[in-house]
Amino acid sequence: MERALAMDNLYAGAGDRTLTDEQLAAKAREGDAAAMEELYLRYRQPVFRIVYRSTRNIDEAEDIVQDVFLKAFERLHTFREQSRFSTWLMRIALNLCTDRARMRQRRQELLEREADHKLAWCHPDAPDPIQTTQQNAFHEAFYTALNQLPDHHRQLIILRDLEEMDYETIAQILGTSVGAVKLRVMRARRAFKAKLEPLLRAIGELE
């Protein structure tokens, strides 16, 4: 999270940059629009990056980012200052990603059922055959395996292995202990490798 925040310092802040997130959250709770904007500009890109890792679609990711901030600002009164604002926001983002993934999966199942698998060639998630080079194939294999994971495993791979968050931050986001997070990450990696192996063999990355 610290890394994520450090990468997002190229914004024109509207509010007071010297205030902490929690101070800004307190002002935003009282209806201070400038504090809201400052919080938004601080966390827009970190939230977007995590959401984009999950969706791989810019428009959908922006929609989710908007929903995340709408939900956060509407429910600021429920924010307990026992946790950090950033972890609270990330938890909202992950929950919305999970909801959206379920909706997408349901829609995909409906599409497949209606078309009886005859429209698989025009599925929006299907890779473009022209752009499928070897490098892209490696990339696609990675994200295909990632998307095949259950939500709780995928989130852990994104937070720990892609975003390189420390275990403590992940534990705060997920509201669990560090030991539990380590165990879950281990299981998620095992599951991910099991999904990834046949895909990598298919494209010749593994012997």
Partner: protein
């Protein structure tokens, strides 16, 4: 050998990129561990590639979020106002209902909107009592009576809903006279006479000793008695100042069906 396999597995799960020499030597003799190590390396390469992939910038402007926030706040405002109002409204409605249930109806003077049905219920009805209302039935099944100078009809096949009757029926009280028309006199004739001159209706004498509507004794003995009163179609109201009754004009049927001598009647009472 199995101990080294487990140790390698533990190393791989912890995400290391380099192995100790002992484990590296073990890889050459164990095909299973070698496959696991290759997969781990591929996984690490894929992670490196994914981390290095540039993430597009989020171009969602604050103004869009702010607009959405304002719109949602506005849409929630009526609900916030409505909830306590609904609560108070329900409380008032319950209080009114309880109060209305406790008020004795008999002690109040009959109101203007009271129906023939209520007036009739105020006195116990004796089934098959032809003395209270002499009726006659014409060929169409309509039984005609007269009350207060107004032609009333008993229509058995289409008894209207009591709620409709309650809205459409003026109060006559206990003083309506029910006079049977002559058996051989067609009902249409009485209507035609009333339609031509509605003014004498107000001057008609009222016998307050008689029941409004008696139980008609027509049809089979097992048939439940009921009474339907109807008014002739008239474009203007009829005011009976003596009885304090005002008949309002009631539309019934299409305008083309309103003509003198027609049998169209507006049903105003049914029990």
């Amino acid at each position: 050998m199995k101990r080294l396999c487990r140790e390698l597995e533990r190393h791989l799960e912890s995400g290391v990129e380099h192995l100790p020499d002992a484990l590296r030597a073990h890889l050459t003799g164990c095909a299973k561990c070698q496959r696991a190590w290759q997969l781990h390396r591929a996984y690490q390469r894929a992670l490196q590639a994914a981390r290095g992939e540039p993430t597009p910038a989020c171009e969602l402007p604050w103004s869009r979020v702010q607009t959405q926030l304002a719109a949602r706040a506005v849409s929630r405002q009526p609900l916030a106002w409505l909830r306590p109002a609904l609560g108070w409204g329900m409380a008032v409605a319950v209080a009114l209902a309880v109060g209305a249930a406790l008020v004795p109806w008999g002690s109040q003077p009959p109101s203007r909107g009271e129906t023939l049905a209520q007036a009739h219920r105020s006195k116990p009805r004796v089934p098959n009592a032809p003395s209270q209302a002499d009726t006659t039935r014409d060929a169409a099944g309509t039984v005609s009576i007269e009350a207060q100078g107004v032609a009333l009809a008993l229509v058995d096949p289409r008894a209207p809903d009591a709620r409709v009757v309650a809205q459409a029926t003026p109060r006559i009280g206990e003083a309506a006279r029910v006079q049977p028309p002559a058996l051989d006199t067609p009902q249409k004739g009485a209507y035609a006479a009333r339609l031509r001159d509605t003014e004498p209706l107000a001057r008609r004498p009222i016998d307050r000793t008689e029941e409004v509507m008696g139980a008609p004794a027509f049809g089979a003995a097992s048939e439940p008695p009921f009474t339907v009163a109807s008014l002739p179609l008239t474009p203007f109201s009829v005011n009976d100042s003596v009885a304090g009754v005002e008949y309002l004009p009631i539309s019934y049927g299409s305008p083309s069906s309103y003509r003198e001598g027609s049998s169209n009647e507006t049903i105003i009472g049914s029990f």
